[in-house]
């Protein structure tokens, strides 16, 4: 895979540049280790939840292999578990949850323009919150390297899919994962992803508004529509406040 001719074009024919890129791949995998460990409760909990929502082992594992989006997969299986939810609504919710990737893609785009479209697609497929955080930090501090991004993506992909598979295998054995406190792994992980983003009162306002609207929406709206209702409304509130307050 590293010998693909496209790579030589990107790095020129400079042999040392290619070698340093291989070092980048290893550096990425090494730096991804703490995040892979952080995925353990998350990946296991997904697999267990998927089985309890009625998915087979193969269906649970295939979703991780093809979708590779933790928050969206959790939401999908909890919607399935609630029952009576249409496929279209789950796909639409997935789209909304993953809209944040548009911004991540935009910020990475200038570094990836010299790659051919197959490489861009490969790197885009593996761009999750954790690998994006590693990649953009590396690109802005050390320098752009597609092999660094590939290493980060691959490390988190292997961790996520393996843990999902193990969790889904355990899912039929563990009768009540709530007793293990595993059900709290997801909100706790979301909390640690959310907290660093609350940089000013505007972000805090969006967070509080979304939380309050989610509680109200869950009480008064059918099914899982509260996710779309609360997230969209809170985003519009944030954007509106931003427009009113000018561009500080």
């Amino acid at each position: 895979m590293n010998e693909e001719p496209g790579l030589m074009k990107i790095d020129g024919d400079d042999h040392t540049a290619l070698q340093s890129n291989r070092g980048d791949f290893i550096a990425a995998v090494r730096q991804a280790v703490p995040l892979m460990v952080g995925l353990v409760p998350f990946g296991l909990a997904y697999g267990i939840m998927a089985r309890q929502a009625g998915l087979s082992w193969l269906e649970s594992y295939t979703m991780s292999l093809l979708v590779f989006a933790g928050a969206a997969q959790f939401t999908a299986v909890s919607m399935l578990g609630a029952g009576g939810v249409q496929v279209g609504l789950i796909v639409f919710t997935t789209l909304l949850i993953n809209l944040r990737h548009l911004l991540m893609g935009a910020s990475l785009a200038p570094y990836l323009q010299r790659l051919n479209v197959r490489w861009q697609a490969l790197l885009a497929f593996g761009m999750v919150d954790e690998s994006y955080a590693l990649t953009i930090t590396r690109f802005t501090t050390v320098g752009a390297s597609h092999l660094y991004q590939l290493g980060a993506n691959l490390a988190l992909y292997l961790a996520w899919t393996t843990l999902s598979g193990v969790g889904a295998a355990l899912g039929s054995l563990i009768k009540n994962p709530l007793q293990w406190g595993l059900d709290f792994a997801m909100p706790a992980t979301f909390i640690v992803l959310l907290i660093p983003q609350l940089k000013s009162w505007k972000e805090v306002l969006v967070c509080v508004a979304a939380g309050a609207l989610a509680v109200a929406g869950m009480t008064y709206l059918p099914g899982k529509w509260y996710i779309i209702f609360a997230a969209l409304t809170a985003t519009i509130i944030g954007g509106g406040v931003e427009e009113l307050c000018g561009r500080q």
């Binding site: 979703m63 989006a69 497929f125 406190g181 997801m186 909100p187 959310l194 983003q197 969209l232």
Partner: protein, 109 residues
């Protein structure tokens, strides 16, 4: 694999890939509209908050702000650890420890 589940997975995979790929392939020269990016930065905050709030504030399906709500207390503990450490493992461990402790020792829901 049931056809309806395969359809769901295929749809989820397609929309997820589109959101990840769209701006990488469309934005040739990094001239990302500043105003749009100021709006978009609220989306992850709004979505994460939307997913967190009901699990912590209404674990039994109704609003429960009492101190006997173990999810609420675990959420507060997790937020504190997240604020201090920004560490996923420490945050998840703190939250699960509080939940397990309250359940085992005090028998709370």
């Amino acid at each position: 694999m049931r056809p309806s589940i395969m359809l769901m997975i295929a749809g989820m995979a397609a929309v997820t890939f589109i959101t990840r790929f769209a701006f990488i392939v469309l934005f040739k020269n990094a001239s990302f509209d500043e105003r749009l990016s100021r709006w978009l930065r609220f989306i992850p905050i709004a979505i994460l908050s939307t997913l967190i709030a009901p699990t912590i504030l209404m674990p039994q399906g109704f609003l429960n702000l009492s101190p006997h709500n173990s999810y609420l207390l675990a959420g507060i503990a997790s937020a504190g650890v997240a604020l201090k450490t920004r560490n996923i493992i420490a945050t998840v461990a703190a939250g699960m420890a509080v939940i397990l402790l309250l359940r085992a020792v005090l028998g709370w829901a």
